[in-house]
Structures are given as C-alpha cells and as structure tokens.
Point group: C2
Chain length 384, copies 2
C-alpha cells in the first residue's frame, strides 16, 4: 500500500513536469481569450489557440510574482509600466484543466482573476485550455439533471458527512422509475466537490444521455479520506474507515433516499488516482456489492487479484482501466512494479480469462482532469 | 430607483465603518481559535471570544500586508521573525460573517487560510465570529434537507441559468406531498450561492423544522441581476429582465419539476439589500403570484405603495421588514427619505390598515449576513 502511495505521488510530480518539454518556442499567436474559469468580468488569465497561458496580476509594490504553471520552474511574471505583473508560459499547456497558484514575494496566493478548485489539499486557482473535444463536457441546451448536496449521518466517524448526488434529467418525471448508481471518487488532495466542479460529471452525463449514448444513472460523490489525514500525507492511508462509511453508511442512505435499484448488478464504483486505489480495494473486498469497476490513472487489476477474490469472475461485469497518454508511457516504462503489473498486460490477461476488461488511453493528456473527464465518458457509455 | 441604489451603497460603506468604534482597547483574551470558515487544516485566521480577529500571512519578501477588516483603515500586519505577517484587529468585529481580502504590496488577494464567498462582485475571503445564538444555523444531528443545483432554460436571456433549490428533509419520503415555495434573493455583488454558503439557509430550515418551529417548504435561490451589470454598478438597474426570468421562466420550471403547491397563497418572496428592492418591485407588480413578502435590510412598503397596488390588501398575507440594529439606527436618522418612509412608521401604518406587517431588528448587527440569517429564521417561522 505504501508503495502505491509513493507511486501516485511520483505520478503527480512527473505529470507536472512532463507536459512542458515539447514545443520548440514557436511563434505565439495573439488570439488570447479569457479562460472559461475566470471570475465574472475578469479578463485574465487568458489562453490562446495553441495552449499558451498569459497572466496579469496587479501588485504594484511586489518584488516578484511567479505562476506555478509553465514547466518545473513555473512562469516568472515581469512588471509592466502600469504596476501589473504579466507573463506568458514559455510552452503551451496541455488541453484541459490545470490547478495552479501564485507566489507573490514568497507567499502562496491564488490568482484573483479565476475561480478556485479544491486540489493539493487547498483551494487552488484553475485555468482551462480548450480541448479539441470540449463539446462533450460543455453546457448545452439539453435536458439537465441535478446535482444535490446531501448531508448524511455517519456513526463510524461521529460526523455528519457531505455527498453530492447527480440525478439524471428524467429523475423527477416518472416517480416509479428506479436507477442504477455509480459511486465516483476524487483523487488525493481533492474532495467531494472535484467531480462536479472541475470534472463536469453532470454535464458529461447530461450530454451523453441527450445523445442516447449512456443509460441514465445516479452518481454519488463523497469525500474519500476519512482517517484524519485530510491535511497530511498518504503514507498512513488505511482503507477501512472510508470503506465503512461507503458500504455501511452512505450506500444504505442513498438506497433509502433515492430511487435506486439497490443490488449488485446495478451498482458501480470508479475513482481517479488515489480514488482508483480505493475503488480497487473496496470492490475486491465487496464483489457482492459492485458489478462495474472503473480505475482511472492509478490501479489496475491483475489475474492474481482475480484469483484471490472469490466470486470475482462470476459477479464482476466489467473492469475499466484508463490513463492519460502522457502518464501511460511513463507507467509502461517505470511504474509497472507499483501497480501490480503493466496495465495493458493486466487488461489482456483478464480478457483472456473471459473477464470483460477494457483499457482506455486519453490522447495528449497527463495526470490531470481532462484524462478523467474522458475516462468518465468512456466508462459511462459502457455501464448498466 | 437611482436614489435607492445610492442608499444601498451608502449603507454598505456605513456598515463597514460603523462596527469598529465601540471598544476602548480592552485587554485581549488569548483564547483565539481558528475561524469556522478556514480551509481544511488551516490555523489562521483566528477569532477570540471577544470578537477580535488575528491573521497570519506567509509572504517573506513582501513590503506590506494589510487586511481590509478592522475599521475603515483595515488592519496593518507586521512581519514576524519567521517571515510571516501577523496582526490582530484593533477592535472586536461584530458577531457573524464578514467578507474581507488582503492587500499585499498593493495587490488584492484572498487570505489563503480561509474559504471564499461570492460578494462585492468577486470571490472574497470570509471569517466567522461566533454569535451568541449560533446554534440556530449550526450543522446538527437532525434530519437534513437537500440543496440541489438546477440548470433551467431562459429564452428571454438566451442562457441556461442556475438556481439552487432547498427541499425539506421529508421531501422524498411521501411522493404525493406538495410544498409551498419561497423565492429568496441575494444582495448586490453576491449571487445564487450566497444564501446557501454564507447564509446557511438550508441549516436554518433543517433546525427550525426539527424543532417544529417552521412548516416545511421549498426555497429557490437564483441570480438576480440579469441585465448585464453583473460586473458593474447598480445605477442602470432595471427590474424587468429579472422579473421576466423569475415570473415567466423560473417559477414555471420549479412548478413543473418539483412538488410545489403552485398558487399565490403558497408562494413567498424575500431578499436582502438589493434583493429586498427586487422583492418589493416584483411582488407589488405581481400580487396575484406572491402572498408573503420579506424585505431584509433595504426596502419597506408604505401605505401609499399599498393604495397604488390593486388587490394588495386582499391578497397579501404578510409584509416582513427587517434590519440589523446597527444599520437601523442610521436609517431612522438619515435613510428614511430613500426607502419611501421610516420603516417602523410604514410597518405601523400597514398594521393600522389591517395588513399583517412585522418589523424585526437583529441585535448588534449591521448590513451583514448574521442580520439576514436571523431575518430568514424569523420570516420562515411565520410562513404558510
């Protein structure tokens, strides 16, 4: 378990550095537009059609202002005549969503131009580079489901806990219809807001359902780190407290309060990065509870895992494994010892054993949210 | 209308300055605790039992760091030996919620220690000074309703708009039961997130319902500035675009998608500050739609308004007017010309005319959210 944790941490660091080393200083096109995640009325940060990001921070008396995006060293801004600090990344960013923050005179602050997103165990600034396939998570004029905040009691942790629940567009139309459920987990340093805010899980589902490409189902998102390490590292991670909350408290709450189909064939679990490790551990320990398993950017399941798990072959309908292309190469080279084998070999060996096993690789993305938005879309189309 | 706008703006400025002029430099008790709105694991900002706030900002190379709380001049922080900037407000803050931000070397940034709340047309830092009656909006072990994000189509603005909908704890238990609805508006510079985030509207209702002090009803919160001045001032404010969205689009959407009692006797509208002006204008123009009117920290309704409004006396069941005590005194002295008369005179004159009219003054608060949390509580107990 500890090795898996270090692996995830290494992945994160690797991803932050990988995506900057490709572009040989091309001419930068002056077609910059405000990032779609900016606060109302804010012009900066901006991105251009090549993926370069440009920043502008007012701090007339500052000595130095740096942005943590733009390679391992980040992007140093320079002071303009009007007292604002401006600068453009030296290389284009990958398509999709990126967390970042500012370092102003040695202090960590968020960019006042943009919205905040919970990641890295803090509310970080976010910027969005338009992706070639951004239409699949766009807000469109289609029927929209709802995202509900529920507060559920948890005896095991002696807390009242929060979950967000996506219900599909037709949920309130026919009061007799019942739905399958996907339990969907965030990554390390994130929380139950991640899949809704930066993940656009609701819009992905609304669009898929409108196109007839996915069956309507409920998605439940809650906080996956219950063992008091919200603020710390992963090294003492223990799945049991969260497993208790999920299996004994949240699932019964959801089944009691939403029109679910409360059985194994109609229940799935998926997660990203740390959430994929949680998904692997919890589903292997509870094959009577989950029939679909989604592992995004982290764990995979080997034939050895299957053989150690009584009932797996009969009960599990699908194992879905995904990565961003830029992290996947690295895993194939260096990471296989940490994930219990090479993911593609694992997927193939499960296939040969007659288990429905799928590998998806997101083009041109690293260990970031566009990988996971795409993973959710691909996974959702195969569910139930 | 313009005068009302300037009045609200004056109120805001006045409120920011009023609450600091009382305490004659008492001994400061060293019982500081992290504010309840801090980010996970963050120790600062802190507040003590007297209402003093203490800040700590890491920015070792900065020349100056100031906090906008602590009187008209704010609180200048001083650099400690470890490079962090620290300081305590010179006077205690009022109980309740306060927006603020930092000024670091002349630039506006949020405090990285605390959560952000949308106010002043930006996501601001927030701090909470425990109130003597904080129990009424506390997260307690009672049945909890849900807060749902809905995305509804708006032809008049050619947008897909967001609303948050509170449904009471028993909403999903009996699928035949229908509920009254309160439409609840934020103030200038805020948005549809305000009543849920800083207002704790859901917790206030959960607690009231658990105590049997309010009937269960639905609350709908949406953005009240539709005329493209989200980023600007109020001087060109026109109620018509928002009235169109509310009356022609949102209310039909809610009545079609939630189990409402879709008639005038079971529909209320309330709002704070600018939202109270909107509420006054919209309810007076639509007495066939709303039977309860809540005006928090802004407008009041005069006998003249009533006599100009056909059907008001027969149809409107209650006019509720509220203020914080610290803004109310000022209004009694200087503001009456702007609100169409002294609020208490207005309330009394309506009472004498046989109209159920109520004035509530929140003790020890100014033009801030504790006034409005209390106003919602008082108003909710009288509804339906």
């Amino acid at each position: 378990m500890k090795r898996n944790i270090y692996f995830i941490a290494s992945l994160l660091i690797y991803s932050f550095s990988l995506c900057w080393a490709q572009n040989e200083n091309p001419d930068i096109k002056e077609d910059f537009k405000p990032s779609s995640l900016n606060q109302p009325g804010q012009e900066y940060p901006k991105v251009n059609s090549q993926g370069y990001a440009r920043f502008r921070i007012a701090a007339p008396e500052a000595k130095s202002v740096k942005v943590t995006l733009g390679g391992r060293e980040g992007t140093m801004l320079t002071k303009s005549d009007d007292g604002a600090w401006t600068g453009t990344t030296l290389e284009p960013l990958d398509e999709g969503f990126h967390y970042y923050h500012l370092i102003v005179d040695g202090g960590i602050f968020n960019d006042p131009g943009t919205l905040n997103f919970y990641g890295s165990v803090r509310w970080e600034s976010g910027i969005e580079v338009p992706a070639f396939d951004q239409d699949f998570y766009a807000l469109k004029d289609v029927p929209h489901g709802r995202v509900q905040q529920v507060l559920f009691p948890s005896k095991s942790t002696n807390t009242i806990r929060r979950a967000f629940v996506y219900t599909p567009p037709d949920y309130d139309k026919d009061q007799t219809k019942r739905y399958p459920v996907l339990y969907l987990q965030h990554g390390w340093g994130e929380d139950e807001t991640a899949w809704g805010n930066q993940g656009h899980a609701n819009l992905i589902m609304d669009n898929l359902i409108a196109e007839g490409k996915a069956k309507p189902f409920i998605i439940v998102m809650t906080y996956g780190m219950t063992n008091e390490i919200r603020f710390g590292g992963l090294k003492d991670f223990d799945i049991k407290p969260f497993q208790m909350v999920l299996i004994e408290e949240l699932i019964p709450y959801i089944d009691n309060n939403f029109r679910t189909i409360p059985d194994q064939p109609h229940r799935a679990m998926a997660g990203l990065s740390m959430g994929s490790m949680e998904t692997k551990m919890i589903t292997l320990a509870n094959v009577d509870m989950f029939s679909y398993i989604g592992l995004f950017s982290g764990a995979s399941i080997s034939l050895d895992d299957v053989s150690k798990t009584s009932g797996f072959k009969e009960k599990v309908k699908m194992v879905f494994v995904s990565y961003g292309s830029k992290e996947y190469e690295w895993i194939a080279k260096r990471g296989r010892e940490f994930t219990g084998g090479d993911p593609s070999e694992n997927v193939e060996s499960l296939k040969k054993a007659g288990i429905n096993s799928i590998l998806y690789v997101s083009p041109g993305t690293a260990h970031e949210f566009l990988t996971w938005r795409r993973s959710l879309r691909e996974f959702a189309m195969l569910l139930f």
